[in-house]
Amino acid sequence: MNFDFTEEQSMLRDSVARYVQDSYDFDTRRAIASSDEGMSREQWQTFAELGWLSVPFEEEHGGFGGSSVDTMLMMEEFGKGLVLEPYFATVVLFGGLLQRSGNSALQTEFIPRVIEGSCLGAFAYLERQSRFELADVCTRAESSGDGYSISGEKVVVYNGASADHLIVSARTSGEQFDPQGISLFLIPADAEGVSVSSYAMMDGQRVANITFDKVAVAATHLLGAEGEAMALIEPVVGTANLALASEALGIMGQLNAKTLEYVKTRKQFGVTIGSFQALQHRMVDTFMAYEQTKSLLYRAVCELEEGADSADATVHALMVMVDRAGKLIFGEAIQLHGGMGLTDELDIGHYAKRLMMINTTFGNGDYHQAAFDALRYG
């Protein structure tokens, strides 16, 4: 039993940390956020050159063969810098689904392109009515000749504005809420019948609502078995939640550190406000919330790597804590920064907004708590 990182893991973390510190300061990030795409393709190419886009992929496809620990360490550093480039959408979700799909032709075609930075991907899974239920799918894929014809609408597709390829969940059989009968398809974003309406979110991301009007897809572009997509989606969402939690941990650490620095320098009544016990105890509460989140993240990563039966419940527990601890930490960070905490100029509010988005991506705290309860208490 140990909580040490291997030399390779430490090097990877240091490489991302150094890059974020040297080349992704808050002004750079602000400029990228206000650009048309809300991300920098130049930065993305650098990520590719540094090998980061290859980390979770298997070696046979040119990947690094990394584990959840590697992804955790990278995402934590991305969180610290509020990195906007679509690592989560392209590598973790799009790449993760491809990697697990068992479709070797698509893997051979697309994984190397993701790794070299020439393919930006997105996973289109949310619908207007679906909220957090992944199996609530109305978009339909009808059999048509040798392939399928997809019609329907997906909303809030992360990286949907920039992605050149989409993985879409669509129903090939069954009714709206059936876990059975959902299939995944890989579609070029410029295929006929696809229309993309993009918009900006509060955390700087560009997302899109995407409609599919009788979009023709070849049977070879089906990922996994027809109707069995939930078995593919669920484990990928599990690792995606770990990635989000890691990013959140990085953000929480930054918020705590910046707030601590602030209360040590800000003076009122002739003394630093950090000398007040009422504030000290609140700083301790946020410190403990951070440490507890870190512990649960380590637990979830270890259990997932071990293939423990309890891993699914632990990931839900982790997301409950990310939600609760995140809200406590950003709330206190804004409060203790006083009026400055409300300014757009300061990074505090931007960290807060990214945390809020993380806590809606694959379920909020209540959703994860109900899922945890069902697994643990029947």
Partner: protein
């Protein structure tokens, strides 16, 4: 990062399980549950651990420790707690022994450590005073040098199990010069010394474990002083981290929580099991999520200690969160017991009464209020973290 057990760890776990299953027998459990036989049963149990060589896993091997890895310690703790086996009485083994083997003379080590290991001496702790609680350093119990003795006058309070104790370790004031921390001396005092009087304090759990200990011209040989005169605070501080870590009781909370879940699937309201009630389920998982995290926070601290670090300010985090968990679990048991929480100890059987755990749940809940107060109140722990970790 790896939390899997190696084959030798699994073999160790089997060994621990076999020992507990055999040594912690039903006859012993009955004696532990009976007030009249409690003390001798505790000593009996600790002697069984001693005979096995497992009484002091955290001591250095040269003094009688086990030389276990942090994984082995974790396995031992988990297996102990899962069986509902009480932890050893901490005052000798966990609290004073590290001070003696770290700061004591060779004579003191030889005199005291073997009898702590064998549980032949029962120790209690003389820190708090009627006028010195969270502000421990303001203590006033006075020791005045007279030849080869100190003459001690004053009173200690909240002294757990003083009525059983053979020895008490005390912080006493030997100087009022300089900062109040600077005039404190660490003394080991024989409870049979003339001039010591133990006054029981009956607590809100309808039990007697707490006491006030009076010292009236008690003569203590200078040979029983730890380290230097006026340096006692330094030694005591080193000890407090051990105390806090042991107070956290994470493995016991885990077991307590599992018991709550079992009871929640038996207790019903309107024919519906409480574990199926959405509000109760939320209360359960609010606690379980924190507890799952705390288990790993403790493992992280253990791993730090194993790689040569001492338990420092992070032991304050464990103390705060650990005691919060204990109280939260005690609170759930009270909810589960409903009106039976009011039952005082009586002669009726559970069958006659119609309920099993109400009285015990209340006793734990009421005495459990102490956990956020003793060992330095949780507010004091927050002060420690603010200063030592956050630099405020």
């Amino acid at each position: 990062m790896d939390i899997s057990f190696a084959p030798e760890d699994l073999a160790f776990r089997d060994e621990v399980r076999a020992f507990f299953d055999k040594a912690y027998d039903t006859e012993l459990q009955a004696r532990l549950a009976d007030k009249a036989t409690f003390k001798e049963a505790v000593i009996d149990w600790q002697k069984r651990l001693y005979a096995q060589g497992w009484i002091a896993p955290n001591w250095p091997e040269e003094h009688g420790g086990t030389n276990w890895t942090s994984t082995q310690k974790f396995i031992f703790e988990t297996e102990r707690a899962q069986r509902g086996i009480r932890d050893v009485v901490p005052f000798g083994l966990t609290m004073v022994a590290p001070v003696i083997y770290s700061f004591g003379t060779e004579e003191q080590k030889q005199k005291f450590l073997p009898r702590i290991l064998s549980s032949d001496d029962w120790w209690c702790q003389g820190y708090s005073e009627p006028g010195a609680g969270s502000d421990l350093a303001s203590l006033k119990t006075k020791a005045v040098r007279d030849g080869d003795d100190y003459v001690v006058n004053g009173a200690k309070i909240w002294t757990t199990y003083a009525q059983y104790a053979d020895w008490i370790f005390c912080l006493v004031r030997t100087s009022s010069e300089g900062k109040k921390q600077q005039g404190i001396t660490f003394l080991l005092i024989d409870m049979k010394s003339p001039g010591i009087k133990v006054n029981p304090i009956h607590s809100i759990d309808d039990h007697h474990s707490l006491n006030e200990v009076e010292f009236n011209d008690v003569r203590v040989p200078v040979a029983n002083r730890i380290g230097e005169e006026n340096k006692g605070w330094t030694y005591a501080k080193a000890l407090l981290a051990h105390e806090r870590t042991s107070i956290a009781g994470v493995a016991d909370s885990k077991r307590g929580f599992d018991e709550v879940c079992r009871r929640a699937s038996e207790e019903v309201n309107g024919g519906k099991r409480l574990i199926d009630d959405p509000l109760f389920r939320k209360r359960l998982s609010d606690i379980e999520v924190e507890l799952m995290a705390l288990e790993f926070t403790e493992l992280r601290v253990l791993a730090t200690v194993a790689s040569g670090g001492a338990p420092g300010a992070e032991s304050s985090l464990l103390k705060i969160k650990g005691t919060e968990m204990q109280q939260a679990i005690q609170g759930l048991n009270m909810e589960l017991a409903a009106y039976y929480q009011g039952v005082l100890p009586n002669e009726l059987s559970a069958e006659q009464l119609g309920h099993e755990f109400g009285s015990a749940a209340r006793q734990s809940y009421m005495y459990g209020r102490a956990a956020t107060i003793y060992g330095g109140s949780n507010e004091v722990q927050k002060n420690i973290i603010a200063k030592a970790v956050l630099g405020l």
